[in-house]
């Protein structure tokens, strides 16, 4: 281990905007972490996952490129409402023609309601969820023909 090398690494870290740096050589290892300072918020998502603690698989993010998609995907974890009110007809049914922006369903999470809209025009081949269903982010809500 070369003390000068490590010192220079610490200085390089200080001069950079890196959040974390790891270095190892000859059985030594060095880990540097920069704490957020003052009012600069550190996004939780930019933090490294803890090592040595339980980690579970995060929910997959829905893919981009909805315009070409053959499916309408849920943007979030939530509860599905296929119609605007209990007993009201659904926003869309199998065989319906929709255009980009047509409401497919409403998703509720913690009393906040969010409309899910079609990303392109097309014919609905199937609505794959029901009112009251809990859906994951990225789950298929409806399929185009």
């Amino acid at each position: 281990m070369d003390p000068e090398k490590i010192k220079s690494l610490i200085e390089a870290m200080a001069a950079s905007d890196l959040a974390e740096m790891e270095f190892s050589e000859d059985g030594w290892s060095l880990r540097l972490v920069r704490r957020h300072e003052g009012t600069v918020p550190r996004q939780a998502s930019s933090l490294p996952a803890a090592r040595g603690f339980a980690r579970l698989k995060p929910v997959p993010k829905p893919p981009d490129g909805a315009a070409q998609a053959s499916e309408v995907l849920s943007p979030t974890f939530g509860i599905v409402y296929l119609g605007p009110a209990p007993g009201a007809p659904p926003f869309v049914s199998t065989g319906d023609h929709v255009t980009a922006g047509t409401t497919i369903c409403i998703l509720e999470a913690m009393k906040v309601f969010q409309e899910v809209k079609a990303g392109r025009h097309g014919v609905i081949a199937a609505v794959t969820v029901a009112t009251g269903d809990e859906v994951e982010a990225g789950q298929v809500l409806a399929r185009f023909a």
């Binding site: 939780a44 998502s45 996952a49 579970l56 995060p58 974890f77 913690m110």
Partner: protein, 449 residues
Amino acid sequence: MFGSVLIANRGEIAVRVIRACRLLGLRAVAVHSVADADSAHVRLADTAICIGPAPARQSYLDQAAILAAAEVTGAEAIHPGYGFLSENAAFADRVEEAGLTFIGPAGATMRVMGDKIAAKRAMRAAGVPCVPGLDEGLPHDPGRVIEIAHDIGYPLILKAAGGGGGRGMRRVDREEDLLDALAVTREEGRSAFGNGEIYAERFLTHPRHVEIQVIADAHGHALWLGSRDCSLQRRHQKVIEEAPAPGIEPSQLAAVGERCAHACRQIGYRGVGTFEFLYEDGAFFFIEMNTRLQVEHPVTEMTSGLDLVELQIRVARGERLQLRQDEVTCRGHSFECRLNAEDPVTFKPSPGLITDWQMPGGPGVRIDTHAGPGYRVPPYYDSLIGKLIVHGATRDDALARLRAALDEARIEGIATNLPLHRRLASDTVFCAGGVDIHYLERGMSGGVA
């Protein structure tokens, strides 16, 4: 005296109440929806019973299901927590009619305090300072309304007697806007709350939210247990609370606290409760009384050394408060951060699986939560997943501990408001103390919140 308590709630407050039951040797009965079958309050209770499907109106708000659950489990008392049925006077009546103890004030008391005009009248009678304005509904005669408004002064605010939580209110800056605004607000009150009664009050432009915690037993003994400042709010939701309220003379807090305790005796109050005030230019103005345990009760526990839920259950059991007012002290300073499953910038809710959960510990740190690694935050209820509470010898010391604790906390898998809390704990204006209730929505000192 009851020996078992059904907790008609979920989440961190259900866990909190179960802990108090455990402390007192009472059997704790949890009720839960299908969505909460794996929740911490179910695991910690002695008995747990499922009372319905996920939506709250079919479970935690279903009075018949809760009473049936109490019957089959042999529960002798019901603790409503906060939210849900906690301020529902009809539910309190039904609980008592079923021969059980409702851990809270009598339904009749809750009814008075739930009507803003009646509450204000009761408070004025007890000498509690109120916002300038009439403690009765505005008359229908337009000329008389203009006269009254002139006496109160502009800007003023029109409030529907049945409203609350920021709804049914309208600010009026000039006399020429008064009558139109009144007509609209009256119509809103009628359609939204079934009550067209409207009252007018002086509108305060830069108030702080300061509240007084009280407790009263069933034998006419009432105490105030300290002050809290909950001015950091967003859309009427408190974000960070602290005790005591900073920068206010202890003697002035004691004077208003004594008035609140006196009011409890006058109205025959029983249980824990909170008098909420606006505080502006050195004066207190009563706004409403919460007739239940508050989310922010821990900051008072940290500074007073008292266990409010233990005391609440004891007075519900008919015990006399052994404490004298001069034995209630305030030691140090405490902050509470509400940890919400929401985006820290857009505030969009963020339910889902918590993949990593690391909370701070050590001296002066307390965590109240039902969450943990592997917990899945359901999309059916509110976004509160825990509370991070710190205590320090002084306000500055408590702030330093708050920053250190927030820095150590880590929640992965869902978005949370931890980044907002970190920013607030380092915000120079908030750290100086005494921000008003618009501070957070104005965007703090650095820009947009």
